[in-house]
């Protein structure tokens, strides 16, 4: 597995920012001790597209996302916004750069209400002495903004005062996705937004993903659902064992060829890509 890594590295490190992309992460490497979870991956997100990231369990998808959003420290890799090199080394830095991320299994705090979850880390404080000095929160304003947002997105969650744990998987995902609409300025990154959802709830979640695009966001979406890739995404990027195998226009692939790329069925050909 590792014999051709050095060659690969030299080749890939020359990756340069290209025009037409809102966000690029080039030469990203993340190691956990001896394990190279993400190996010299180049990710390029075109303005206004939905980019799927696919790969088997353990391929390094989540790790890649975490490494480019400041959730994990990178070993290597340079990030670009609109072709400009940017420094993103914390979740807060990613957010202020305009990236909103829904992490796999780490989207909501069960104990907090819907409103508090959506505004977590970005609470609105009261516009008076108590707010400015002691950080008193403006709950009324936050509640109203959440209601307005849910109305706009057609999210049928009625009780925003209830703790997140009281909701179904689909509702929780809707809350998490709505957060990206509320705060996302440029890029939304979604790690398996339909994982563990039923058919109808998946549909709901994917409609939300589509509406992200309508709200002017470019989207990176990790998924195991090839149907979703073919239906909702513009391009697809394939990872295998931490390596970037290929990126294709969705119009050029079908379910079978994607599976072949993911599993490495056409190994010799795929390895050159």
């Amino acid at each position: 597995m590792s014999h051709d890594v050095p060659v690969c590295k030299i080749m890939m490190n020359n990756a340069r920012s290209e025009p037409g992309h809102v966000f690029e992460a080039l030469g990203v490497t993340k190691r956990f001790g001896g394990v190279v979870a993400v190996d010299n991956v180049d990710l390029r997100l075109k303005t206004g597209e939905v980019l799927a990231v696919v790969g088997d369990n353990g391929a390094g998808k989540s790790t890649l996302i975490k490494a480019i959003t400041g959730a994990l420290s990178r070993d290597e890799g340079q990030l670009y916004f609109d072709g400009q090199a940017v420094q993103i080394d914390s979740p807060t830095a990613a957010k202020s750069a305009g990236i909103e991320t829904v992490y796999q299994d780490l989207a909501l705090v069960n104990e907090l209400t819907v409103t508090k979850n959506i505004f977590l880390g970005r609470e609105i404080v009261r516009d008076d002495f108590l707010g400015r000095v002691f950080g008193f929160l403006d709950f009324r304003r936050m509640d109203n903004e959440v209601r307005a947002l849910f109305g706009k997105l057609n999210i049928r969650i009625t009780d925003i005062y209830r703790e997140a744990e009281a909701f179904s998987g689909g509702q929780r995902q809707a809350v998490a996705l709505s957060k990206t609409v509320m705060f996302g300025k440029r890029v939304a990154i979604l790690d398996e937004p339909t994982a563990a959802l039923g058919v109808r709830e998946s549909q709901m979640a994917m409609d939300l993903v589509t509406s992200l695009k309508d709200h002017g966001l470019s989207v990176i979406m990790i998924t195991h659902n090839m149907q979703h890739v073919l239906h909702y995404c513009d391009r697809v990027m394939v990872l295998r064992l931490g390596r970037h195998i290929a990126t294709r226009n969705v119009s050029e692939v079908d379910g079978d060829s994607l599976v072949a790329l993911i599993t490495g069925a056409n190994e010799p050909q795929a390895a050159q890509a």
Binding site: L106, A107, E111, T113, N144, G151, Y161
Partner: protein
């Protein structure tokens, strides 16, 4: 509310949100009912319980530990643990005694120095944890013995007693201790419910990683929660020193355990993320009612301890059973 908001929300929402609010009220109501029931049992069994003074005696006895437990509540909600507050209590008592007796400082200045000492001890607990990564249990277990040692070094061979009247006012009788208890609960309660930092305690205790990924300053917040814990221990110590009219390094022993017990009996989760300071006050009242009630019935302190132990386990058992699974 504007029209857009009305449209987005079906009519049943109003009812549902009231349900969520009622859920909170019901939770604290349950603990309060438990207190009333326990009180009623002793009322029936023991003559002195029928005197209203007994209620005030219980509240006064509960007050010092309850003040300390307000800080413990914040730390536990944030998913932390501070076993050293009993020793911080001892340090502050001795420090205030020295300031008043040896240095003859004005009362207000002695109090300020005492509070600052407690807050600093708590701050140190937080800093050591955050920067060493050593678990809270170990760091504050170390703090428990270390602060105890400091209290002994400072207080050894000294007679720290007979304080000025203006200082004695704080802990004498029942009006002041009970008022300070309620004031502490009110301030900490407002902090937890209404402020950004207070809300972050629930977030960090609920899921530290999600909080971090959401941009919450986890480490900094934690240090502040431990500082509050130390500050409340100091407040409690000052009230007790004033009440006893002497300061000794042996005071405060096991107070951290009684505080944790009260917090848990009140229904704040030992696992972080939920709870409140009102529940803690009721929890402390339950504990004191049982202690005083059993004493009136002629039951010895050993059996009292057994009873409290059983109640703590029962409280955690109920907490775990009521928790929705996810």
């Amino acid at each position: 509310m504007n029209e857009q908001v009305e449209q987005g929300v079906p009519p049943e929402s109003q009812r549902l949100s009231r349900d969520a609010l009622m859920h909170q009220v019901r939770q604290i109501g349950q603990v309060f009912l438990a207190l009333v029931a326990i009180y009623a049992v002793f009322y029936a069994l023991s003559e002195p319980f029928r005197n209203v003074n007994t209620l005030f005696t219980i509240m006064t006895q509960a007050s010092i530990l309850a003040i300390l437990a307000c800080g413990t509540t914040v730390v536990l909600i944030s998913g932390g643990l501070d076993l050293s507050v009993g020793s911080i209590f001892a340090v502050v008592g001795v420090v205030v005694g020295i300031m008043l007796i040896n240095f003859e400082l004005p009362v207000w200045l002695a109090i300020v120095i005492g509070l600052a000492t407690g807050a600093f001890c708590g701050f140190l607990n937080g800093m050591v944890q955050v920067f060493s990564g050593v678990p809270a249990f170990i760091v504050t277990l170390g703090g428990l013995t270390a602060y105890k040692g400091i209290a002994e070094l400072l207080g050894s061979g000294q007679d720290l007693s007979r304080f000025p009247d203006s200082f004695r006012m704080l802990g004498t009788g029942f009006v002041m201790p009970i008022s300070i208890m309620f004031a502490s609960a009110l301030i900490i309660g407002i902090f937890l419910r209404m402020t950004r930092l207070g809300n972050h305690a629930y977030a960090i205790g609920g899921n530290e990683e999600v909080a971090r990924l959401s941009g919450v300053a986890v480490a900094r917040s934690r240090v502040i929660y431990y500082t509050i814990g130390g500050f409340m221990a100091a407040t409690a110590a000052i009230v007790e020193v004033s009440k006893l009219n002497f300061a000794q390094s042996s005071r405060g022993q096991s107070y951290e355990l009684f505080a944790i017990a009260a917090v848990v009996i009140g229904g704040t989760s030992l696992f972080g993320g939920r709870g409140g300071v009102g529940k803690t006050i009721i929890g402390m009242m339950i504990m004191q009612t049982i202690i005083v009630g059993l004493a009136y019935l002629g039951v010895g302190t050993s059996v009292q301890r057994i009873a409290i132990g059983v109640i703590i386990i029962l409280a955690v058992f109920l907490d775990m059973r009521n928790r929705p699974k996810r």
